[in-house]
């Protein structure tokens, strides 16, 4: 089975279509960024508080918001995430401008207070089983000793109750419960649980209808440091790429590759802006991976151009470039296609947490492949035409420096 059987398409002739498409995408993206006043930074760049909460029933977002307003926390972002049946909500608070050391988790405490007020168990003085950790459970079980283990000695009893507490929490956290149980009787299927254990739990703990799954609080200093770090990393990546391609080919090729990659980044960020997706540190990591990955395809085409230039001194440069692209098309589409298959699976099945990362990869692989073939080459041709055959001469010059010919 073969997709491309010796294609002979005139790519350079159609180059204005590709450039037009790229410009359209880039301009749309940039316009979106300008209109929305920059990019939607994730919490790690912006600073602030984000709490992910799971509810047993669909929560009233308005009730939560008014409760927060009552505590003087205005402007909270509250939105559902994931599948509606999961009843998961993200509550976000912007960075407060207070600088006292208490302020860091003030927002989180307020959110938890609001939630326990609205969705707590109502039984004052009892701890919440749905938000308790194994050590707390183990302490209470040890104190009540429903399994009658005091005869076996303190150490043995402690270990047994610790294991039991772990088992109870694991049961609670695994699907379909995912962190919430609504009745203590549900726990009877856990190994080691008897009626006495359930009675102790019912006595000491209540059951709220919410469970905090994740908290992220980022202070202003860390946010600022991360923004700076992200910038350095991106510049370092692009810089390294320029030097590497300059070293392997010539400056012209290096510049073409950098422009193509820059184009990829702008368009990918444009998509993020258009679809209101957050840019977090992992998204920057994905972009950097793409920079490295996109280089591969670019090098493949450039290498073939160089080889063909050496073999066919009489053929026009534009024809050479077309030929090179045609020869490497099969390989490039295949490998990109396979990588795309992998990251698509990540995007569809990878879950919310890694969503930004996988989205960046999905868009990036498509755009990156497209730019390596259809944007980098026209730029090289353009420079060649400007410099009057200079690039072709340059290409064959740099080629003679290479040790051995390599056909890809």
């Amino acid at each position: 089975m073969e997709f491309f059987h010796e294609p002979k398409i005139d790519w350079m002739g159609k180059k204005w279509y590709f450039i037009a498409l790229s410009l359209a995408l880039a301009v749309t993206g940039l316009a979106s960024m300008v209109i929305k006043k920059g990019l939607a930074y994730g919490i790690d760049f912006r600073g602030g508080t984000v709490v992910t909460v799971k509810f047993s029933k669909s929560p009233s977002l308005d009730a939560i918001r008014s409760e927060l307003d009552r505590q003087n926390l205005h402007g909270a972002t509250i939105q559902g995430i994931g599948v509606p049946a999961d009843h998961e909500v993200i509550i976000g608070l912007d960075l407060r401008t207070t600088t006292s050391s208490e302020a860091l988790d003030e927002g989180k405490r307020a959110i938890v207070t609001s939630l326990s007020g609205l969705y707590g168990q109502g039984a004052a003085g009892k701890l919440d089983f749905n938000n308790a950790s194994p050590p707390t459970l183990a302490d209470h079980l040890l104190a009540a000793d429903p399994l009658g283990l005091s005869s076996k000695g303190l150490d043995a009893a402690t270990k047994t109750y610790q294991d039991l507490a772990e088992a109870l929490v694991n049961f609670r956290n695994s699907p379909p419960r995912s962190g919430l149980i609504s009745d203590f009787a549900d726990l009877s299927s856990v190994q080691g649980v008897n009626a006495g254990v359930i009675a102790t739990l019912r006595n000491d703990f209540g059951l709220s209808s919410y469970a905090v799954k994740n908290t992220e609080i980022v202070g202003p200093k860390v946010g600022k440091d991360l923004r700076r770090q992200a910038l350095y990393v991106t510049l370092a990546g692009l810089g390294a790429m320029l030097i590497y391609i300059w070293f392997r080919f010539e400056l012209v090729y290096g510049i073409a590759a950098v422009i193509a990659t820059f184009h990829d980044v702008i368009i990918t960020l444009g998509f993020f802006s258009l679809l209101n997706k957050e840019i977090s540190l992992t998204v920057i990591a994905a972009l950097l991976t793409l920079v490295g990955y996109s280089m591969n395809d670019t090098i493949v085409v450039f290498d073939r151009i160089r080889e063909n230039t050496r073999l066919n001194k009489r053929q026009g440069f534009v024809d050479l470039v077309n030929q090179s692209i045609n020869q490497t098309l099969s390989r490039t589409i295949l490998t990109s296609g396979l990588t795309f298959l992998a990251v698509l699976s990540l995007f569809l099945f990878g879950g919310e947490v890694i969503h930004g990362f996988s989205f960046a990869l999905v868009v990036g692989v498509i755009i990156g492949t497209y730019s390596s073939i259809f944007i980098a080459s026209p730029i090289v041709v353009y420079f060649q035409q400007r410099m009057g055959g200079g690039a072709a001469a340059v290409a064959s010059r740099s080629y003679q420096r290479e040790a051995a010919p390599v056909r890809r």
């Binding site: 089975m1 073969e2 050391s101 860091l104 988790d105 989180k108 938000n131 950790s133 194994p134 929490v169 694991n170 609670r172 695994s174 699907p175 995912s178 469970a211 799954k213 994740n214 908290t215 992220e216 609080i217 980022v218 200093k221 860390v222 440091d225 990393v233 990546g237 390294a240 540190l281 992992t282 990591a285 950097l288 991976t289 490295g292 990955y293 591969n296 090098i299 099969s330 390989r331 295949l334 490998t335 396979l338 990588t339 795309f340 298959l341 992998a342 990251v343 698509l344 699976s345 990540l346 569809l348 099945f349 990878g350 879950g351 947490v353 890694i354 990362f357 990869l361 390599v406 056909r407």
Partner: protein, 536 residues
């Protein structure tokens, strides 16, 4: 030809065995299998659940304390050396970044100048002594920047040790305490399995400065009352400290500045119960501490001894008789607080205060969700790629798929052996590597197809395919690993996990796609009749 293939096949089998052993160990049953895997493959916080804290040690506190101590000592030292002075003032330059500590001396007669200089170079060698321009009796002591930097670094190290001590005592499994960021005295503390960090944060942050000081006077109902009783000025060498707030409101005590015993003299602190059965902390002193304590209590029976924690009087019991080596702190504690206080006293005082910069808590249910999603995505991606290779390259696709499976096994084993931490981006790295790794096989197979099209014999086509594709494979791997290295250098936690899994995966891929695939091809070819077609 046969022996070469056999030898290589054995080598590959050995590698496979070592890797499988590396992942699952030698389990005797299913439970042990699961435990072994869990122990060998370390999970990051985003998969296991836990707390990640970034905090900053306010090292300037330590410098301030040192400067204050010098400021206090200076007067005494000058008196001892019979050097008259009119005034000693703090003259810090707080606009400088970091602040410069300076002490201004006024009214030093000319004939004592030499004495002053000797004193400075002997007793205060960390300070530079200069004359004040325009004032013949004025001198300025400035803390040397190198000395200040030394104090800051020392405070940072001490804080790190104290925090590590406290976290260890809390029984957190495999915590991480390390320096963070670029030189702003920041620490990162990772606490796996801790999903309610408030208690841990309080324990880490507690300064825990314990001092036992004799009470001169008290309790008073407020600062003004205390000052008024002494005619507006406190007696020399005393301080005014707040005490517990009771039903009657605040209490304030006038205590000696110098402590009879401090936290450094503690040899142990344990939770216990006082004579009325209430929870208390009982502490024991070192020999020197006990000697000093004995002297002070022996000479002051009937007076009150203030137990001061973080510059707050906790309690001020009356000294009944000489106490030497042990004591008790009571004060309306809950059993939990008593545990925490004993823990914190045992670990020693923090030399500087702590400010939290960021906090992230991943609940265990979220971690479990992430693992499930990651594994699902991995499985689907893997199956999709494998299926494609089978369809597009027919029987040679089996070759690529086998290499892929081996690649994954080596990757997991590599993660286990190197002690790398698997994070959610790390799992994404595995998936990405599946897509990029199979690229190597595509390169080789496309080349082989090209050679076959040109009419070469099957054996020569395969050999040429591998040979010509090799340089490109190295090239593509190097460029991607290079960006992974940059990510590792600049990234933190989860991103590092991604960089590491991607790198290990690609390195393993070099082995499987070039060496292992070749061996499989050789084996397949050796089994065919000459002239038969290669299914590719």
């Amino acid at each position: 030809m046969e022996t070469k293939i056999k030898g290589r096949a054995i080598f590959i089998s050995v590698v496979l065995l070592v890797c499988i052993l590396g992942i699952i160990g030698l389990p005797k049953n299913v439970q042990e299998l699961r435990d072994n895997v869990r122990n060998r493959i370390r999970l990051g916080l985003d998969l296991k659940g836990g707390t990640h804290l970034v905090l900053q040690v306010q090292v300037e506190d330590a410098v301030n304390i040192t400067a204050d101590q010098v400021h206090e000592r200076l007067g005494d030292e000058l008196k001892v050396k019979n050097v008259p002075y009119a005034d000693i003032q703090k003259a810090d330059d707080t606009t400088a970044q970091p602040p410069k500590h300076r002490i201004l001396l006024k009214g030093i007669p000319q004939e004592n100048a030499a004495q002053l200089q000797t004193l400075a170079s002997e007793q205060f060698s960390d300070w530079d002594l200069t004359r004040v321009p325009g004032d013949p009796t004025g001198w300025m002591l400035a803390l040397k920047p190198s000395a200040a930097a030394g104090i800051r670094n020392q405070a940072m190290l001490q804080a790190m040790n104290t925090i590590r001590n406290r976290v260890d005592q809390l029984g957190v499994t495999e915590p991480t305490i390390a320096e963070y960021g670029q030189g702003d005295f920041e620490l990162v503390v990772q606490l796996p399995g801790v999903d309610d960090p408030s208690r841990v944060k309080d324990i880490i942050q507690s300064t825990a400065l314990l001092e036992l000081k004799l009470v001169q006077d008290g309790p008073y109902s407020g600062r003004e009352a205390a000052l008024a009783a002494h005619g507006g000025v406190l007696p020399p060498d005393t301080k005014l400290l707040p005490g517990p707030t009771g039903q009657t409101g605040e209490t304030w005590y006038v205590v000696n500045s110098v402590a009879a015993v401090t936290g450094r003299d503690l040899s142990g602190a344990e939770p216990s119960h006082d004579s009325s059965g209430r929870p208390s902390v009982s502490f024991t002193l070192t020999r020197d501490g006990a000697a000093r304590f004995g002297r002070v209590t022996g000479a002051n029976v009937g007076k009150q001894l203030a137990i001061v924690l973080d510059n707050r009087v906790f309690d001020a019991p009356v000294i009944q008789s000489q106490i030497t080596d042990r004591g008790e702190i009571t004060g309306g504690f809950t059993p939990q607080k008593v545990q925490d206080l004993a823990l914190v006293l045992r670990s020693g005082a923090l030399p500087a205060s702590i400010v939290y910069l960021s906090e992230q808590t991943v609940g265990p249910s979220l971690g479990a969700d992430s693992i499930r999603h990651g594994a699902m995505a991995c499985l689907v991606g893997f199956v999709a790629v494998m299926a494609f290779m089978l369809i597009y390259y027919r029987e040679s696709g089996i070759n690529a798929d086998l290499a892929m499976i081996l690649n994954l096994i080596i990757l997991m084993a590599g993660i286990g052996y190197f002690g790398a931490v698997l994070t959610l981006p790390g799992i994404a790295g595995v998936i990405l590597m599946v897509g990029m790794g199979v690229d190597s096989n595509v390169l080789i197979f496309e080349r082989i197809r090209e050679e076959l099209r040109l009419g070469k014999a099957v054996g020569a086509a395969v050999a040429n395919g591998f040979e010509h594709a090799f340089v490109t494979i190295i090239d593509t791997h190097v460029t991607t690993i290079a960006s992974a290295v940059i990510l590792f250098a600049f990234g933190t936690g989860p991103i590092r996990g991604f960089a590491v899994t991607l790198t290990i995966g690609l390195l393993a891929n070099l082995f499987t796609s070039v060496f292992v695939s070749r061996v499989i091809f050789d084996y397949v070819l050796s089994r065919r009749e000459k002239g038969a077609e290669l299914s590719i």
